[in-house]
């Protein structure tokens, strides 16, 4: 079975996020008020072949930990969904 994986990578708490801070500082200048906690991360998408959703999640988590993120500075959240057969995706 094929699964789609979305890896949402964020900087860990305490790691400086100059890009997020710069965007946040610009917001009031542009007239946007009340917006807080802007962070900039990255997303990675791929498909993976696995027996079931648990196996897909486990393989994606291992890949994320060993390669896609640097655990010293980054955290990631995974979203794994089965690609339904015949959906054409």
């Amino acid at each position: 079975m094929q699964f789609s994986v979305l890896v949402d990578i964020r900087l860990r708490g305490g790691i400086s996020d100059p890009a997020g801070a710069t965007i946040e500082r610009a917001l009031p200048v542009l007239g946007y008020e009340g917006i807080d906690g802007v962070t900039v991360g990255k997303t990675i998408r791929f498909t993976i072949e696995a027996a079931d959703v648990e196996a897909a999640r486990e393989a994606a988590a291992e890949l994320t930990e060993s390669f896609l993120t640097n655990p010293v500075i980054e955290d990631a959240e995974l979203t794994v969904e089965q690609i339904s057969p015949g959906s054409g995706t």
Partner: protein, 221 residues
Amino acid sequence: MSTVVGVVVFPGTNCEMDAVEAVDGLGGTGRLLWHGDDDLTGVDAVIVPGGFAHGDYLRPGAIARFSPAMAAVARFAADGGPVLGICNGFQVLTEAGLLPGALQKNRGLKFLCRPTTVRVETTESSLTGSAAVGAELSIPVNHFEGNYTCDVPTLQQLRDEDRIVLRYVGNPNGSIDDIAGICNEARNVVGLMPHPERACNELLGSTDGEVLIRSLLAAAA
């Protein structure tokens, strides 16, 4: 026979000739090593130079660490061989797990390209054996992700074990504890963000990098 320093070249590396020139100028022999090769025969020391290995895609050093040459460098380091990571090379060594911590984006979100002053904090490393503790050297930096970080226990360990090799005088990038360079537990693997190979000629405005490259050559001999 002069000391042979292997300089690892990845796609996107751009400081390899600076490193070779500096080594040759100090009586060593710089030898380029393609990242796809894993043969370090005849090499006495290794430099992982600066640049943008594999375009810095994903993270600086993230893809470079999987190159065959890096497996050979890891074995060379485990056997006690001197290994120096400069700038992108430092990032590669942290990603490869040969040095602790990571390099995050500079505080201030600016690419920095200018001279910095670094202070030698220990002479117990393959990069500083011929230097003097407290010596202040003018060495340029050229980086966007040079802001060294690590968790609190790691920082404590680096301090306790005297493994902070160089500190900035006037921290340019936000690095924790002003760290410009560190070494591993065995002290043969050193990484730093400043470029000593670019401070080995009067024409470049400083020759303060010579003592560091000379130390590397001495460590390899």
